[in-house]
Symmetry: C3
Subunit: 272 residues, 3 copies
Amino acid sequence: MSNKPTLETIDITVFPNGVAELAFNRPNRYNSLTPQAYKDWLVAIQWAANEESVKVCVLTGRGKYYTSGQELTLPDPEEEDLAEKFAQRHLTTKTLVKEMIQFPKLLIGAINGHCIGFGTTTAALCDVVYSVPDATFATPFMKLGFCAEGCSSVLFPRIMGSSKANEMLLLGRRFSAKEMEECGFLRILPAEGFQEHVLKLAGQASEFSVEAMKVTKELVRGVDRDLLLKTNEIEMERLMERMGSADSFESISKFVEESRRKKAAKKKQGAL
Amino acid sequence: MSNKPTLETIDITVFPNGVAELAFNRPNRYNSLTPQAYKDWLVAIQWAANEESVKVCVLTGRGKYYTSGQELTLPDPEEEDLAEKFAQRHLTTKTLVKEMIQFPKLLIGAINGHCIGFGTTTAALCDVVYSVPDATFATPFMKLGFCAEGCSSVLFPRIMGSSKANEMLLLGRRFSAKEMEECGFLRILPAEGFQEHVLKLAGQASEFSVEAMKVTKELVRGVDRDLLLKTNEIEMERLMERMGSADSFESISKFVEESRRKKAAKKKQGAL
Amino acid sequence: MSNKPTLETIDITVFPNGVAELAFNRPNRYNSLTPQAYKDWLVAIQWAANEESVKVCVLTGRGKYYTSGQELTLPDPEEEDLAEKFAQRHLTTKTLVKEMIQFPKLLIGAINGHCIGFGTTTAALCDVVYSVPDATFATPFMKLGFCAEGCSSVLFPRIMGSSKANEMLLLGRRFSAKEMEECGFLRILPAEGFQEHVLKLAGQASEFSVEAMKVTKELVRGVDRDLLLKTNEIEMERLMERMGSADSFESISKFVEESRRKKAAKKKQGAL
């Protein structure tokens, strides 16, 4: 395992049975997705896909959040190479979704806590999703003037039914883990021993014939792969347009301002 | 809002926040769908789609029924222009389904009471569906010798799973709101304050970026639009054949006769 | 009904209302699927499809199992015509799935007890599925080095959502009837009077217009038929490769050996 990457934001553990755990590891930042975090995720998933000794991959997070989603910052117009950085980040995200769609091994999402935005959409690209009981799920895309991504425009309606999918995507409603379980998105495992439980299930899967797993995963995913790859292209194009739009800039400004005010109020209250 | 249509069977209210409520408004006739009611529905939905000040559209009914579905009457062979009227009604229904498929804004179904036939099938064409707890849902197509319409042949299996979809479409089983919620078709809101609750949720959505909503709705619906449009064409062709068939005529006769007998029995009992 | 086939492993009953019940009838062998059982199933389903007096078909089993799935035996290399027999069995299975996909009448799955492998996958090809409360469902394909079949690679994710589908197909988790009901696969009916209950529901459907049923079933199934037929071809090709592979042979050997040991232990315990 000499080639196991060492990453700033993701903690990789490989167990002797061939289970690799990739864990978002910035708990004090709610595992928010900075440009670096997207890059690390891409490196980690590509490594797990290609590393022969890895049979099963578990995607999880450390702390109270799985991930709080994309870190929201207002572009500083004085920053150098702004357009280039934006394009680079866009490409990283698109490639990451593509790698998730094409991941050739069993990919288990182990939702250890709250799950926002890109964390929620990409969970639908995992083969199996487990969650702790008190996690919540949200995609506040409309509030930010964004749009659906991570193939959620296609996968959410299929998994959850159109009404619940649109409540999440178009209305931005936050779902409890229980509701996500009821609509077939995941299965809840007890909070106590959650990580061990998931790793045990992953370990059982690692004993199966690697070839049989690969063939069956290909049968399940193969029928939709082209549609998902195309959906990713279209979603990402729309998202880039949205992120560059005036109404989205305004929405983010409002959001960032609100966050600042809340933080300041909290600080003040703490000081009293 | 000078161009807001005034309709015989549908009550249109537009709120300052851009939410338009279209309400079936013949409660004493259980909001049954007469030829006029189909025409009004079509006018209302086309208006809501095109009127720029409308951001979100809520479809609901007044009284104990959302809609009891198509009003069943036996064709009177002495009536003039029977074939022409039949063809006109057919075209109106087909165009209405088409407009629902292509509706460019957020469309919320607010099921205020019992929901039969075309009311149930077209609910699946709404982006989000809410229901009062004691509504029931049924598509008694087989009893009448009809067939699936409103794209239910495609949308019901996707939303509910094939077994529940076929229980409704092929066996004509009536579903409770709770069961519809469990199979992902809708979400139940409390009966008390139902209308206000839905309008509040619609109002929250009306504050989002109109463009972001449009783009995301297009991502969700766009992938299936051609299939749904084609399904509507095929279903409507089959339905026209079915409605003109001897076995359907016989089924409707039996149904109408039964209804008459029940009504008469009720009257007699009331007189005693 | 002079042409009603008499079969070794399937019991066929035809009721005057046009309901035909096909029942797996080797309860002392848990209705396991021997080469003969596959052949009988094929004959029975083809007969039900073509026999004009049959309007509705119910598929069920006698005893504590619906079916325990394919009977596992290790190929005896000394057996004559081994390759030919293998190819014949393969063709029978593939044709059977094809007939289930194309079955032109209402097909009801009445799951009377535990349901394993091919029994579980083909249940998803029935229009409506009912189950007793204490049945369990499993597809232990990975344990045997096999792969998804019976169109489960396409139908399971659609019905159950991808996570539950993959828990079953890739992880081999056993589901309770309650969980299968919750994910939309079936509806539970009380154990007492289960058969009568299903036959009554089937009887009600047999009173509907045969033509209306046929048209609506065609609308529901027609949109997916080509995809399902193609999926069957691909799955069966992969399964044939899998069954001929060294790792699958090893998995089956282990499984058969375990079964023998368990049986011996049981016998010994009984003797003490």
